[in-house]
């Protein structure tokens, strides 16, 4: 087991309230797996990824839960041990490259830093030339051949696609084992998105990395992953092999979501899902999807459904299957 998340709860404190976002999330992945997390805006998907690296904002609290990466207990580990993980084991592609790259430093300086700390973690203090060579190599890997110009550029001088490639290069430097991709192609045109997804896929396979791809784009998760989780309002609703999930969704939320997405082969489109995400300050006590679920029973509003195994590839948290 490469990563094992068990019963993870994450809350955010604000001045008056506590926002109970993650509500007992589980996730297990083996080495070499490509895992997807499907979640709409505000479902807690970025919170989940950030907890794995323990880079949550200051006002986050983790009242309960366990995250195991290899044999490291991430939530209990000291800063020294964690910093090694962040520098050379797990890399993360952040959602918005314009926000994730520092606007006042050249790409060169931002890349060099990441490379330097990765190499320091491996016990090697690099020279300027080594940094430059390494940077050129990673830019080549992400198909940015015009590397001298890229290195000397500030983020705003690059196109959206190029910025995204720089982000991927940065994430790959520290992704020795696991690559976390948080909506890696938001705000990017489809023809460029396609190239970037293929690039990520190729690099991941070449290096034998495991990946977690988080996205609200169902089609992207379908094409890029082997297994997928469905996250809604901080709860895992369903988990299955990706093909199985899309062909035979079990949870009402999953099937409504898939039927609501526009397809290119047919004009048919579902009704969508009525209502909106619950208020995290006072979330529903039972199943968090119950207030919007067309099949909700009395029990759904009071008792949180347990993970129920349907078959070897498929588990769902829904009272309909208990």
């Amino acid at each position: 087991m490469l990563l094992d998340i068990h019963d993870l709860h994450v809350h955010y404190k604000s001045y008056w309230y506590v926002h109970k976002v993650l509500n007992g999330v589980w996730l297990r992945m083996a080495e070499g797996e490509r895992v997807g997390i499907i979640g709409e805006t505000g479902s807690g998907k970025t919170t989940l990824l950030k907890s794995i690296l323990r880079i949550l904002p200051q006002n986050a609290i983790i009242p309960r839960g366990e995250i195991k990466f290899k044999d490291i207990d991430v939530l209990k580990a000291g800063e020294a041990e964690l910093s090694i993980v962040r520098r050379r084991e797990i890399g993360m592609i952040f959602q918005d490259p314009m926000a994730a790259l520092n606007p006042v430093f050249k790409i060169k300086d931002q890349l060099y830093d990441i490379i330097k700390y990765k190499l320091l973690a491996e016990g090697h203090n690099p020279t300027k030339e080594e940094l430059h060579d390494h940077a050129v190599r990673v830019l080549n890997d992400v198909k940015l051949p015009d590397y001298e110009r890229v290195l000397e550029s500030f983020p705003f001088q690059l196109s959206g696609g190029m910025r995204q490639r720089v982000m991927i290069a940065m994430a790959l430097i520290s992704a020795g084992k696991l690559l976390l991709a948080d909506e890696p192609t938001t705000n990017i045109d489809v023809t460029i998105q396609d190239q970037i997804l293929k690039l990520i896929d190729r690099l991941v396979k070449q290096r034998g990395l495991s990946t977690i791809l988080v996205s609200h784009a169902l089609g992207m998760v379908r094409q890029m992953t082997d297994r997928a989780y469905v996250l809604y309002a901080g709860d895992i609703m369903e988990e299955a092999r990706t093909g199985e999930l899309f062909d035979h969704p079990a949870h009402p939320y999953t099937s409504l979501l898939i039927s609501s997405a526009p397809k290119i082969s047919t004009r048919e489109i579902g009704e969508g899902i009525r209502g909106k995400l619950p208020d995290y300050r006072s979330p529903p006590t039972g199943c968090r999807f119950a207030p919007r679920c067309p099949y909700a029973m009395d029990k759904c509003h009071t008792v949180k459904p347990k993970r129920t195994v349907i078959n070897a590839d498929h588990a769902v948290a829904c009272h309909l299957y208990e």
Partner: protein, 320 residues
Amino acid sequence: MEKDSILTVSDVRKYFKIKEGIVKAVDGVSFSVKYGETLALVGESGSGKTTTGHLIMGFYPPDSGKILYKGKHDLSIPIKRRSLELKREIQIVFQDPGTSLNPKHIVKDIVGLPLRIHGLADSSSVYGKVAELLEFVGLGEDFMFKYPHELGGGEKQLVAIARALAPNPSFIILDEPTSALDVSSQAKVLNTLSRIQKERDISYLLITHDLGVVRNISHRVMIMYLGKIYEEAPTDEFFRGPLHPYTQMLLSSIPTLTRQDEEIKPKGVEAVGEIPSALSPPKGCRFHTRCPFAKPICSERDPPDVVADSGHVVRCWLYE
């Protein structure tokens, strides 16, 4: 052609001067929207599709070319010089309802304002009219006194649609109406838009980059690339047999949801490159720098209009 068209755009150009040079945002675009139809204008960012919409709205006038509304009203004049009646007829729904709705106003005032401006309601009747509009877009009266921040993304966009419907227009420009929304709320908005069109016989110009959305609500599709239109076809025909290499590249780049979707994707056109800068667009066919089938002539001369089928027009040297 002009008789059954609510809007006719002919050879419209709009260049913007900036410090670095001249951006040819819209460069010789012609099309027409028929009564009661949805025409989708599809393109990636920087293709000039939003500029085209703004030209019709009159946010700025075109440099050359003609825009005619209902065959007689000249739309190449800026919005300030248009008659109130003409302004009432043409409305727009913007991409992000989070920024297009005034956060300090309640829904009643947001939807009520156009009613008052156009003299369609006074202070005593505005409540009833707004309630009717909210009911019509599927929101209901209890949204009346809410502020935008109390609404979900889909609900906000439905309020923006109610506002556009308030002055009873005949033509609505939908500028990326669902790009800022989640899948679950997008479906509701799309279904509502289709229903409104059927019940009120409104024509839409749908500006979008999302071909899934196009498939679901449009009757005809146009593909725009760097300020020019390269393909135009009825929706079903468009998805069955896209002709222009750029269109094929677009379709084959979409991440698909079902096996049927996968089968419909054109094979053998892998996405390469990025859209060049509109400051110095390539000579000839503007797509030739990324086109896998480019011939010498493509980089020299503009491709001609080739009529492939009734209503299916492609601008490409391959079909000459």
